[in-house]
């Protein structure tokens, strides 16, 4: 037989993998910064002009140019940009004059909250639905899951959002309307409660302000449900196909020959294997939601990253747009890396 590495060796290999992963993480982030830097230098928006205005004198323009460091050679500008970005300085918003990093720190938790809840919905419903469809292919349950999934794929999100608001807020009055909180609770949140994370659900719970929490839930449930529906459509489809593939494998027959009950065959033997590709699917769909779904955030007046970048774009506020881009890119890279690590934890073949 081939030698199986002893467990100490395995830990060593895993540590090496993590080190290698961190190295490639650094390189990827450097590449990301290089791209945003280059974009900022080629867009036809002159940062100097947008600060001093059209009637500035030559001397004023030169002074601002020097202050922004734009008179330095390109490579030096890039190094300064990288140093600033790594120390959390993403520049100053032209629109508001505030540091971009501080603004994003205010907007991003709203998106994080929404995307996390949406992904939890999507996974909790999508995975069992996909398994149900895979274990009974062609059955009524399979057809229902297929149709519901297809609707999630093909209906425009803004339309579903509007209909959702019309029905559940306008007609039935089961949920609250756009925004993260009612104005009264918003004031309470801002002036009387300690902000820990910027995520209202978590902060209000930590403060024990359950009335605020309840109001936040009634606001977030519709947009989170909507995003959850869209990711559920994708996750259930993928789960079905991964599970169908695994259930046709010979080791499933082995488990049945051993007399294992069907729930164990499906949820332990097949699921452990289907989980390997499923982890990638779920993290990718999470990353996609974390980019801030512009349409959903617009319809629900949700002050998240998507709205922030869109508003910045319309105002030609390049530092804000690029700062947002860097954050989105960093989130994507981090999640990719997390999925890579999880993948290795689940699949022993990827560890060696």
């Amino acid at each position: 037989m081939t030698g199986s590495p002893v467990s100490g060796n395995r830990a060593f290999v895993l540590a090496g993998r993590i080190g290698l992963g961190l190295g490639s993480l650094a390189i990827t982030i450097l590449g990301l910064l290089l791209i945003t830097f280059l974009i900022s230098r080629v867009v036809p928006i002159d940062p100097v002009l947008s600060i001093v205005g059209e009637r500035a004198t030559e001397a004023q323009i030169a002074a601002v140019r020097a202050k922004l460091g734009l008179d330095l050679p390109m490579w030096q500008q890039f190094l300064i940009y990288v140093r600033d970005a790594l120390t959390g300085d993403l520049g100053t918003s032209i629109r508001t004059g505030e540091p971009v990093a501080a603004e994003i720190a205010r907007y991003f938790p709203a998106t994080l909250e929404l995307a996390t809840l949406g992904t939890i919905f999507g996974t909790l419903v999508g995975v069992p639905a996909g398994v149900l469809a895979a274990t009974r292919p062609g059955s009524l349950a399979d057809q229902v899951v297929r149709v519901i999934g297809l609707m999630g794929y093909s209906m425009p999100v803004f339309w579903l959002g509007l209909i959702g608001l019309l029905v559940f807020y306008g007609q039935l009055d089961w949920v609250s309307g756009p925004g993260r909180l009612d104005p009264t609770y918003d004031m309470m949140m801002q002036f009387t409660l300690t902000p820990y994370t910027g995520m209202i659900l978590i902060d209000s719970a930590l403060n024990g302000a359950w009335d605020v929490f309840g109001n936040a839930v009634s606001h977030i449930i519709l947009p989170a449900g909507l995003l959850g529906y869209v990711s559920m459509a994708y996750i259930s489809r993928m789960t079905r196909s991964f599970m169908m593939n695994e259930l046709g494998q010979e080791y499933i027959t082995t488990a049945r020959v051993k007399g294992m009950p069907e729930w164990r065959v499906v949820w332990v033997h097949a699921m452990k294997n289907a989980l390997v590709p499923l982890i990638t699917v779920i993290t990718l769909s999470y990353a996609y939601l974390l980019e801030g779904s512009v349409l959903t955030e617009t319809i629900f007046a949700w002050p998240g990253l998507g709205s922030y970048i869109t508003d910045a774009l319309f105002a030609a506020d390049m530092p804000a747009v690029l700062g947002g881009t860097v954050v989105v890119g960093a989130v994507f890279i981090t999640l990719n890396m997390a999925s890579d690590l999880l993948y290795r934890l689940v699949d022993p073949r990827a560890r060696a």
């Binding site: 081939t2 027959t253 082995t254 051993k258």
Partner: protein
């Protein structure tokens, strides 16, 4: 004493071009003896083995006049009754351990899950039984193998694990479906002799499915030769050389012999009426 009695077994699969009968009217019975089933690919030998364990999933359909294991009607057993039979009283070793072992579970977990789930054994007791089973298939370092994942084992090692797993509950009948076809020639003999010794010692019934007629003849008391879903000849292993059916003779003659005359090997002559798959 009859362990397994199968009368007129038929297995049908629905395909896009209509129903296809993979097994059409197979009958045999088996005591605590070794029965070989031989035939070319697609002859229905594997499906016959799986039908006995009721592993044919819909839309495949299994019909028979009777299928009785030790007094229990397999055709009408509930799923719960079937689960109690599988593993516990009937085991099956499949062709390739690369696919028949779960790739993301350690060998130890796969060996002990039956003991722990079904028999309610504790971790230590189940582990001890599993290690003993690994030693019985001549694995010298059971502790290391218990902690290993299937991809860390060689084919021969994997197949021994598979045999150990199926023999842990001490079944009365073992179905071995081409248990050595995926292995290197050098380890085939080793795995076979381990299987042979265990089956002999424990006095269980064996159904040995293979395409290799000579191999089967060496390990079995009786041989069924299948062609196109039917049994074309049933013969005692020692009488194999006196086989009368042209298909059996063809299977015997298509292998070269070391030191034999170097004449071209004859192809299978399918000109007889039997080749169309009609009644034998």
């Amino acid at each position: 004493m009859t362990l397994l009695d199968v009368r007129n077994l038929r297995v049908t699969f629905q395909t896009e071009t209509g129903p296809v009968q993979a097994v059409r009217g197979v009958s045999f019975s088996l005591g605590r003896e070794r029965l070989g089933i031989v035939g070319e690919s697609g002859s229905g030998k594997t499906i016959t083995g799986r039908a006995v364990l009721r592993l044919i999933r819909p839309p495949g359909r299994v019909e028979a006049d009777a299928m009785v294991f030790d007094g229990q009607d397999l055709l009408h057993a509930t799923d719960r009754e079937m689960r109690a039979l599988r593993g516990k009283r009937i085991g099956m070793v499949m062709q390739d351990p690369k696919y028949s072992l779960n790739p993301v579970m350690t060998v130890g977990r796969q060996l002990t899950e039956g003991l722990r789930l079904r028999d309610g054994l504790g971790r230590a007791d189940a582990g001890a039984k599993a290690r003993a089973a690994l030693e019985a298939v001549q694995i010298r370092d059971p502790d290391r193998v218990m902690d290993a994942y299937p991809h860390e084992l060689s084919g021969g090692m994997g197949q021994r694990v598979m045999i150990a797993m199926m023999l842990i509950p001490e079944p009365d009948l073992l179905i071995a479906d081409e248990p050595t076809s995926a292995l290197d020639v050098t380890v085939q003999a080793e795995v076979l002799s381990i299987l042979d010794a265990l089956v002999r010692d424990r006095g269980m019934g064996l159904i040995f499915i293979s395409h290799d007629l000579r191999l089967v003849a060496r390990f079995c008391d009786r041989v069924l030769v299948m062609y196109k879903g039917r049994i074309v000849e049933e013969i005692a292993a020692r009488d194999l050389m006196a086989a009368r059916h042209p298909y059996t003779q063809g299977l015997l003659n298509c292998l070269p012999r070391i030191g034999g005359p170097r004449t071209p090997l004859p192809g299978l002559d399918r000109s007889g009426a039997w080749a169309s798959g009609g009644a034998p």
